[in-house]
């Protein structure tokens, strides 16, 4: 009896221990976000937490700064194109990956995620040389290519995971009922991988929005992405405008995730 009780209280202690660990983990993950969001609403002149008074003046300031707004617009545009292109290409790659079997399959997966394994700086330098060769260095197109390359693995991993949940027999069943390859894709595969596809697009977009190193090397003449513009800004002025920009970025990510949740449901994405 006493043994059973002590086993029970041990279990309780373990549960409480885990609970505390999880809370600490959340604090660790959330603290920077809370700080930066809080700091953006300050009425003072410095980035500080807790904020001095409440105001939206730094948001107004952000939208008044042409360099930051230009950066935001370029980042949004590049992010959107990156999401669309990586979703399309990663979808095709994931379908190819399904057909490849045996030892080759492992190499294929590795190849698709290679940009994650090579340091970003090296990829950026290599790509810069390549872009000079094809006359695209220092253009928006070149930067766009870099972002697609760096974001592709995120889209691929998400879409390939969704694709693995679709058994080959569904495609065979569809064919046996007279469907062409395209009809099977549109009516069976696409609806089933849609959550993973949307999630892959969001990952690619957020990753692109956040890229710094590669943007620094490949940026077009006279153009800046938001992270570059913010870094330039912070070099000379340590004003809460940067916190406002960061808060806007966070808001954008949350909006994206909410959109997927609304359209296809997040539970189904994982």
């Amino acid at each position: 009896m006493s043994e059973a009780t002590s086993a029970f209280s041990n279990q309780r202690a373990v549960n409480i221990g885990f609970g505390v660990l999880i809370v600490l983990l959340y604090v660790f993950l959330m603290a920077p976000l809370v700080m930066i969001v809080g700091a953006s609403f300050t009425n003072g002149l410095l980035i500080e937490f807790p904020p001095q008074g409440l105001s939206l003046r730094w948001y107004v300031e952000f939208f008044d700064r042409q360099d930051l707004v230009d950066g935001l617009l370029l980042s949004l545009r590049i992010g959107a194109v990156t999401a669309i292109v990586t979703m399309t290409v990663a979808m095709m790659a994931a379908m190819a990956g399904q057909v490849i079997s045996g030892r080759l399959s492992g190499w294929f997966q590795l190849g698709m995620t290679l940009p994650l394994l090579v340091p970003e700086l090296l990829t950026a330098v290599g790509l810069l040389f390549f872009l000079y060769k094809i006359q695209l260095a220092k253009t928006v197109m070149g930067l766009q290519m870099g972002h697609i390359l760096m974001s592709f693995p995120y889209a691929y991993v998400s879409i390939a995971a969704a694709m693995r949940q679709v058994p080959a027999s569904l495609e065979e069943a569809s064919a046996s009922m007279g469907a062409t390859g395209w009809q099977t894709f549109r009516l069976v595969i696409l609806p089933l991988v849609m959550p993973g596809l949307a999630m892959g697009g969001i990952f690619a977009f957020i990753n692109s929005f956040d890229l710094y190193t590669i943007s620094l090397l490949l940026k077009p003449l006279g153009g800046n992405t938001l992270p570059l513009a913010l870094f330039d800004f912070l070099t000379y002025e340590f004003k809460p405008t940067a916190a406002a920009a960061a808060t806007l970025s966070i808001l954008l990510s949350i909006l994206g995730v909410a959109l997927v949740q609304k359209l296809v449901g997040l539970q189904r994405a994982f």
Binding site: P167, S169, L170, E172, A173, S174, A175, S176, M177, G178, A179, T180, Q183, L187, V188, P191, L192
Partner: protein
């Protein structure tokens, strides 16, 4: 509806010969079962028929015309999969109507035909459910309905009952057989379960290592197997090695088995050594002196409908026997065994 012939079909994977010259024929309206253990090539044969796999040699003809160059989606065959392969994002009615919708039929016609076939497989009222919301047996009936609604030339069933429990298996088995006979669709049915094969089929192909070991009616493969492998796979069997084999007429032989001299029917033209096949139900317990064989009871088990015994003969071979359930036997008892001569069968030790 359609006569289907498979001729010398071959399929090779890198270093594995999956099909080594498979030949079969299904007459119009017949249900042909491909029976064998896993890896014998039965599913590979079916997948070649469906068009999911490309054969490396041989031919498949439907009503005399080769279909090998026709892709799966233009063969017009219905396929029922072991895992059902229902589309999880479509309702039962949408799953069944999928093929009709692809044919761009008017909505009202699709609705009527889906409703009719759902009535046929007893799925009435479940049209709006998703596959995950219905039971395994119901899912299998949706899969069946989905294939039948397109009025296929040929129905291909790949172990359709393997994932069902025993009670449902019986129910769906009869449903499949009834529907197949009513509609007169030629069908190929893959299974590793011999009782399923025996109960449902017009013809059975027992497969072994990428070849057809025997292609015959259920009665023939059970009573007149061409080799031990077939006899073993189609049910309980006793084999007694024969010491002398003399031909005494067409497919009749005089043999000496476990000390007894018998005249038995068998596979034609046996030369060399042979074995006698005795099914447990062809044997009967008698008084020691009255039997063809004498032996000692080593095991007995009461199974309700029957009594299973194992009897050791003088030469060391063991006979399994099914006796009438009220028969009293003791382990260690001396008994005689009478043979129903119409059920004995002599086979060569290796197939000719």
């Amino acid at each position: 509806m359609a006569t289907v012939e498979v001729r010398d079909l071959r399929k090779r994977y890198q270093d594995f010969l999956a099909l080594d010259g498979v030949s079969l024929k299904a007459e119009s309206g017949q249900l042909v079962t491909l029976l064998g253990p896993s890896g014998c090539g039965k599913s590979t044969t079916l997948r070649c028929l469906a068009g999911f796999l490309e054969a490396n040699g041989g031919d498949i003809t439907v009503d005399g015309e080769s279909i090998l160059s026709t892709p799966a989606n233009r063969r017009g065959f219905g396929v029922v999969f072991q895992n059902y392969a229902l589309f999880p994002h479509m309702t039962v009615a949408e799953n069944i109507g999928y093929g009709l919708k692809l044919q761009k039929l008017p909505k009202s016609e699709i609705e009527t035909r889906v409703k009719d076939v759902m009535q046929l497989v007893r799925l009435g009222g479940l049209g709006d459910r998703l596959p995950r919301e219905i039971s395994g047996g119901q899912q299998q009936r949706v899969a069946l309905a989905r294939a039948l609604v397109l009025k296929p030339k040929l129905l291909l069933l790949d172990e359709p009952l393997a994932n069902l429990d025993a009670r449902l298996r019986d129910e769906v088995r009869w449903l499949i057989r009834d529907l197949q006979q009513q509609s007169g669709i030629t069908a190929f049915y893959v299974t590793h379960d011999q009782s399923e094969a025996m109960a449902m089929s017009d013809m059975v192909a027992v497969m072994k290592q990428g070849r057809v070991a025997q292609f015959a009616t259920p009665r023939e493969i059970y009573q007149k197997p061409v080799e031990r492998y077939v006899a073993d796979f189609t049910g309980e069997a006793n084999f007694i090695a024969c010491s002398s084999v003399m031909s005494v007429g067409e497919a009749r032989y005089a043999v000496t088995a476990a000390g007894a001299s018998l005249e038995v029917a068998g596979v034609p033209e046996i030369t060399g050594s042979a074995e006698l096949l005795l099914r447990p139900e062809a044997l009967e317990l008698t008084a020691p002196a009255a039997g063809t064989f004498q032996g000692t009871v080593t095991k007995s088990a009461f199974l309700g409908a029957a009594l299973h015994c194992e009897i050791a003969l003088a030469d060391g071979s063991i006979l399994k026997l099914t006796a009438e359930p009220n028969h009293q036997v003791e382990t260690g008892e001396e008994v005689g065994i009478a043979i129903d001569h119409s059920h004995t069968w002599l086979m060569p030790e290796v197939a000719p």
